[in-house]
Symmetry: C5
């Protein structure tokens, strides 16, 4: 596998990782249409766990089949495909080597009696299934946040020791945060920073709003005149909070919007220096041709062509 200069430089950020982990990061970064550019688009399919199968796949029934998603990620030229255990197991052999996979090792669901996640996969599972990374969600601010941090600490240590990469979904919520607070710029920046401090290689956060949630933070943002007026500026700030841009940060699709709204948002992410997008529902809930067209467009945006 050829490694571009850009990617080689990014791998240098992870100076404490072993060659195995660097190789897996390289596999993700060199895959697909954006391969080598330092930008990534990843397909995550944990929607069925989180919201149930019909709400996830009924709009586009071929998506009930796990193979559909592997093939979609490949056909669209994406960098990686992330999913829970059962879905990866269902296609890992058919698509062995065809696209880097990320085993999502914890999951929540809409029936849950509490706001937590269950650990549903392991590092051993990731290894036997040929995955490049494990993925893990933390809810900073929630009652289970410390437990989750201790879980990912343990899983990350094990993953790194066997040459896997670690992707952390950092989604703040909990008693100290209202709905607006969950995507406030100070909170998203904090979420990204904690994921970096926890040792994540790739960080996933939501696109931040211009809202400021914590009073103590608000005072600093205003005193230091941190520019959070545009999405690009806010993303820039988040990249800075991720070790001065030396961690890979990708953004989820954000609130429901039309295609143009989505493209505009991706342009904002790109202009702020984001490493890319991780888009689920917006892709697999459309007919495949439409999804491919949309992903092609997003990739062009990251390539600076659109």
């Amino acid at each position: 596998m050829r490694i571009t200069q850009r990617v080689r430089k990014m791998l240098d950020w992870y100076e404490s990782d072993n060659p195995g982990t660097k190789a897996n990061l390289a596999r993700i970064l060199m895959e697909g249409k954006l391969g080598g550019s330092g930008k990534v688009v990843i397909l995550p399919v944990d929607q069925g766990f989180e919201h149930g199968p019909a709400r996830s796949y009924a709009p586009n029934p071929p998506a009930y089949d796990p193979h559909y998603h592997f093939q979609l990620a490949i056909d669209a030229g994406l960098n990686a495909f992330a999913a829970p255990l059962g879905m990866i197991e269902a296609g890992a052999a058919s698509y062995a080597g065809a696209i880097p996979t990320i085993l999502k090792v914890n999951s929540s669901n809409s029936l849950a009696a509490s706001k937590d996640q269950a650990v549903t996969g392991s590092v051993s599972d990731a290894l036997r299934l040929g995955c490049a990374a494990i993925g893990f969600t933390i809810y900073p601010g929630s009652e289970c946040a410390f437990d989750q941090m201790e879980e990912i600490r343990e899983l990350a240590e094990e993953a790194k020791s066997v040459g896997l990469a670690v992707v952390v979904w950092s989604y703040p919520r909990g008693p100290n945060l209202d709905r607006a607070g969950e995507t406030a710029i100070d909170i998203c920046a904090y979420a990204a920073h904690m994921a970096a401090l926890l040792g994540a290689h790739i960080i996933k956060v939501k696109p931040p709003t211009a809202h400021l949630s914590l009073e103590a933070a608000k005072r600093v943002y205003e005193a230091q005149k941190i520019d959070i007026s545009t999405l690009a500026k806010r993303v820039e700030h988040i990249m800075q909070c991720s070790f001065s841009g030396k961690r890979i940060v990708v953004f989820s699709g954000g609130e429901a919007k039309d295609l143009e709204g989505l493209y505009d948002e991706v342009r904002g992410l790109r202009d702020g220096g984001a490493n890319g997008s991780i888009i689920g529902r917006n892709t697999f809930q459309r007919p495949k041709e439409e999804a491919l067209a949309m992903l092609a467009k997003i990739i062009e945006i990251y390539q600076g062509k659109a």
Copy 2:
């Protein structure tokens, strides 16, 4: 052991499993009168744990003896026999090799002060007793659901690593579900999907009603015009939610009804593409001859002969 083309194809669904696990799935699928057809009828006897011995066996006293159930499953030409530790221990040597057994490794009971299950068996137990699979119940939606998911994650990883198959009983309940919700079609489909994502090889759910429980799901079922008007259609939907039919799904006996009602239900399951039935009380609470006649009829239905 001869493996039919149909079964060989089903084994291919489990593309990430080792030959040991595939062999045990094959043993279950090739056993008994339905052997090789892709259909299965399984005898589960955890009723004594759940409801107590007299409520389970007094209507047919020979059933107090564990050997009775092994013999019944064999005489009826079923695919497998599932029971808790003590019951399997009581007959495993006498019936070694005579019929595939599934060790039910967690159990609840009617005296319990909380709605959970105790882990009462292990993968090591299953191995020393010559079982083909472990069985585990989850209660999605309950306060203990995340714990149960983490328990089955661990047990399933261990089971798969030593060549056992994994059967998950997925029975939703809990604070967000009323009685009708527990068998609502959206909830049963969700339960089957989660079991699949957790890595189950064989999934057991209850026959679904036409009720829709979650508001957010209801909107989708209506918008997407998902046909849930007949049991066959609902079962078809559940099979689709189980990786487009690429996981084995079996259904419990459902609410108490007369024999004709039961046969009609089985016809609905069959017509919807279910892989089979797992029927406890209805079998061992009748005199043996009646039970054998009933099971023969059910098997004929799955064979398309009745």
Copy 3:
């Protein structure tokens, strides 16, 4: 050691156990005056833990000395002696090989702030002390019942793997049971059945009353006309609920009563097919000569001579 036909047949019930465990069961069954008859009388001395030393031993001060109990069990020709760690440690070497011992590995006490038991011994302890079995109490119906079941599951698996036998004290209690319910026939039968399903070799329950506690069970007992009119009939039912009599079931001394009342109760146990008695307080709280006379009489009852 000679093994009678009767005992050999009983060992066959435990068809999944290794020769080590069968040998230890045989040691208990072949010991003492009842040796070889299939009947057993066991001396349990966990009273000091449960109620304190003075309440246990002050009526007969020699009993403060652990050696007293070893010697009493031997002199009376009993089958085994059961006690907590410290008491077994205090005599295990002096009486090595002289009588089978059962290490009681959990214990409660009268000062406890909650209705649970602490695990106070291990399988390793049992091995180093030359015990034939471990003993463990479960409280089905209590808040800690699932935890206790998971503890005994783990301990029993380990015990069986090293050739020890497993004795389960099954004492229902908890929020769904009133005082009368704790010894109701449906509850005692259920308690025995659960112990059997948990993999116990020897089950200890309390002598059941004719009371029926669970409404759902009551309906079945009445509909099926289960005869619970005499102690013998009730014991017969409990034996049936213990795998059709293929598990060893012993009964505690029951409520305080005079000697004739005790003998009558034992006759009822015998006539119902019980495997024997496990009698603590009634023995060691009397002067030794009286205790020996009483035990001799009980043994004669089980021999059918009294």
Copy 4:
């Protein structure tokens, strides 16, 4: 090391222990001025953890230095020195072999938000520091009592397996005990008995009062006319409750009192057959010369000379 007949006989009480543990018990029993007599005086210094440094050491500032306590115990001719991890670490090499040490492996403190103890040392720590025993506090009757019993069970099993002795501080407290109940004779006797059943080699309890706390116990003490009128009689009863005097039982200093009061108490302990005293605050809070004089006097009392 010479072993007296008296000590040899005491070692025989511990008939299930390995030679390593017996050797460590012998080291404690043969050390110091009381060496060989079967009596012991032990210096415990966990006061700093329990009440803070100034409250413990300000009255005698040299005691802030851990070496002070090692030296004091040696100079006074005591049998052993007990302290938490950091204090033992601070002197273990300087005083290697000079006096048997007991690593106190759990500790509480006056700032604590709950009435429990933290495990602060391990068996491995005790081994690497050359200790003769581990020490552990249980609070029978407290909400954490079962957990503590399970902790000491595990630690004691490990300690015994590597030849260490086990000392249990048994201090009843909790919702069922008022202040007077904590030192009531029935409760102290029960506390000693439970420590013995848990497998302790050396038991520490508080000097008992003539109060009776549990109603059920009171009835027995009165019915059996147990003499609890003098401290000597009460201690005699506690020794009886400790396996008929076949476990080493030592007593703490009891309530604050003047020197004569203390000496009188020690005479009562001696006359009741106690194995000795374990005295902290009373020793290290005095100038060293005074402490040495006091300890010399106490030793003389145990020698029957004062």
Copy 5:
């Protein structure tokens, strides 16, 4: 590496530690401008975790980059740099051997729903990253204090066994302490003492005020006329409470104040015999030149030159 007589003497305090741990303590004590003097200044950067990135780094944006802190500590001639996992990983290879690092293995954050810390690093992490020590925060007095003590016990045992040093941040808080109590002299002294008893090599506490918090302690401080009138006297007392000055104790920066106030405080620490300072925010929130000047001044104070 040359070891001064002063440092050699300090290493002797840690008489129970293995040569590996002593070597790592020596590395810290011999590093930088204060190397060999027995005094240390350490840079801790866990502020981003505790308060979020903008509140920590926005005043001096280069500090967003982890390398900035490594370089700052080196340029200022400090003894060590302490930070959480991700930050150490981000620079450990670039600065391998350049400055001793302390892996902070637990962390809290401002979004947290409870007052605890998550374990976010391990001893294995510290080893693979070439750290000299692990750092751990305890909150004596808090609901999680016992758990934290058990965590550090386990981590410290492991760290010592592989030759790492152990630094404990001891910050009292909780239901029995009001705000003033958290820095009261009796509480700070108690906090330092508990850290020493837990086996810490280096203890971090806050500069104490003249307040006395616990009533029982107050009586002793007054009766014993402990001089707590000046910061120097209070620090002297804390050193005494840290094994008579035979443990390394460093102090945090205390309440916000101007530079002269800070220097005065450091003079008080120095005059009381403190081993040094551990100063975070005050350093990295200033432009680098200012920070270097401030640190140079602080070092001069510890050298007795200012």
